[in-house]
């Protein structure tokens, strides 16, 4: 990367932009990729079958874009170029189209990450109850676990158990400070997270809900 030149008091790189490397993501001399050729792209049979079953649910098969990308991500750990190309091949779309869809949604990963998603809600209700400290503590505990994708996340819809964590889709909370090491150990080992604090078993708080 060249050093910027000062033009009219503004640092500009060789290509004229103030941003270094803006043109590096794409090879501008090449045509954009078309719909992948099924004769060339190999798609594992089970992945193809799964994506095709999603496509059959909708009047327009393109509706299966999100489920297809999720399936591909499940297999490859993230929406890698390979994952996207295979999904695009089955769906008869361009990889560029699916990459654009993948870039929009928080749960679709566009960079290599740990395979197991762990989300800590850091939105208003949870942060009022100490979510930022919970996220920091978990980051300390799990920072070196390569297969864990630990992220702060926007409202996960479980403010009743704030502060809470979603461990691969299993909601647990409220997580007390003294439970964090245990939770971190369970996440690392792939054990059931805090079995006594799982949302799925939580009874309704409405005192009259169980009345006949």
């Amino acid at each position: 990367m060249s050093t910027p030149r000062i033009v009219n008091g503004i640092a500009r790189y060789e290509h004229g932009s103030r941003v270094p490397g803006w043109d590096e993501a794409a090879d501008l001399t090449k045509d954009p990729a078309g719909v992948p050729d099924p004769a060339v792209v190999e798609v594992p049979a089970d992945l193809r079958l799964e994506i095709e079953s999603y496509m059959a649910r909708y009047p327009d098969s393109r509706s299966a874009a999100i489920p297809a990308l999720k399936a591909a991500q499940q297999r490859y750990g993230w929406c890698s170029p390979e994952a996207i190309e295979q999904a695009a091949c089955v769906m008869r779309l361009t990889p560029g189209y699916l990459a654009a869809v993948a870039g929009f949604y928080d749960q679709l990963e566009t960079r290599p990450v740990g395979r197991r998603p762990v989300y800590v809600c850091t939105n208003i209700s949870c942060s009022l109850r100490g979510a930022d400290a919970l996220l920091a503590a978990l980051q300390d505990e799990l920072g070196d676990a390569p297969d864990v994708n630990l992220r702060g996340f926007e409202c996960l819809g479980a403010c009743d158990i704030a502060p809470m964590v979603s461990v691969e889709g299993v909601y647990v909370g409220p997580v007390d400070a003294d439970e964090i090491p245990e939770l971190a150990r369970q996440i690392r080992a792939g054990d059931e997270p805090l079995p006594a604090k799982q949302l799925i078993n939580r009874p309704s708080q409405d005192p009259d809900a169980s009345a006949a």
Partner: protein
Amino acid sequence: MTQKILFKNIDEPGLATLDVYRARGGYGERLRMALSMSRDALVEELKASGLRGRGGAGFSMGTKASFLPKGQLDKYLVCNADESEPGTFKDRELMQKCPHMLIEGMIIAAYAAGANRSFIYLRGEYEQQADILERAVHEAKVAGFIGDRILGTDLSLSMWVHRGAGAYICGEETALLDSLEGKRGNPRLKPPFPANQGLYQGPTLINNVETLATLPHIIEMGAEHYAKIGVQNSTGTKLVSVSGHVQRPGNYEIELGMSSRDIIYGLAGGPGEGRSVKLWFPGGSSSPVLTGDDLDLSYDFDTLAKAGTMLGSGAIIVADDQSSVVDIALKTAQFYRHESCGKCTPCREGTNWTVKMLERIKSGDATPMDLDLMASVCENIIGNCLCVLGDAMAMPIGSMVKKFRGEFEEYIEAARAAAERELLAGLAPTQPVAA
């Protein structure tokens, strides 16, 4: 004690299964009754119930269903289960514990709208709920409640659970439709409204989970009876999600028109010992905030609208007197910045500027003029975008600045003074400040 409609026996073991649900009257006489009415009569019944949408906008459900054109063409029913409004978690509990109530409601809504295909758009994070819902849909299909000629009538309906992948904007109905069509979830220009051109350009009815789950009960008790619950223009019961600084956060089914104090203190236990309510969002993070002085407002659509805020999704977030309004404003603004889809400039840039200004306030780099600047940015978002995501940030932030201006100004001064002291302390050893 509020009459329980949605939450009656909600914790009964096995309620998520078809057998227990049917034993409690599900898919029984009331469904037969609904499907034996003429479509027009059913729509009139829904209108007469006064049921207003429970997702946030509060539009009359029956009126919306009546907007769909008549005639033989593919029409769609979409259940908005994207529940992402911060503070809202009522649909989650309903779907998890009684998924068949939603499915039965969808059958009735599909009949009213003349829809033959239906989808439940569920937020991707609700994985356990999605599994439960998929199981329930499968059970209903096997039992013949979903499929061709339901209960021997001419109603045929398909149903699929569609899992999203994490985007708040997909709770906005037109963004949801784009997302369901396999695109990025960008809102569309309205009109045309979904009732005319929705999913795949076809007529589409979109309703929230709680709205749809209420329909079987309206049929069972009769619209006239249902309309007697609650207050004028806000009929029926509502699930409210209470969270934040309360002792018993959770979902409560209330009769609309209950006093807000009774919900926050009576049901949810209020803030902890010795604390008081500083501010509360009455309808999710998008609603302008109220203060401790507003606790005696009746909790219904019209009263809250008159108070300059909204009932929204029924999500009450309480912050006590020890919380900082600047922190809450920053969290709120950060959320909308993250979730803005980027299509409209006022929202994309305005949410970002607001976060930057609030960060400046926190770091001590702001002047009191920044508050006016922030208010002006917010003003320029409202009404200038395709959807109301930007407005949903501008309105609560605007209300916080208006109601807590003194605290913001004090914070700015204190942070500035602290930053200055730090700067001077850093300079002191080498460059003594001239006396």
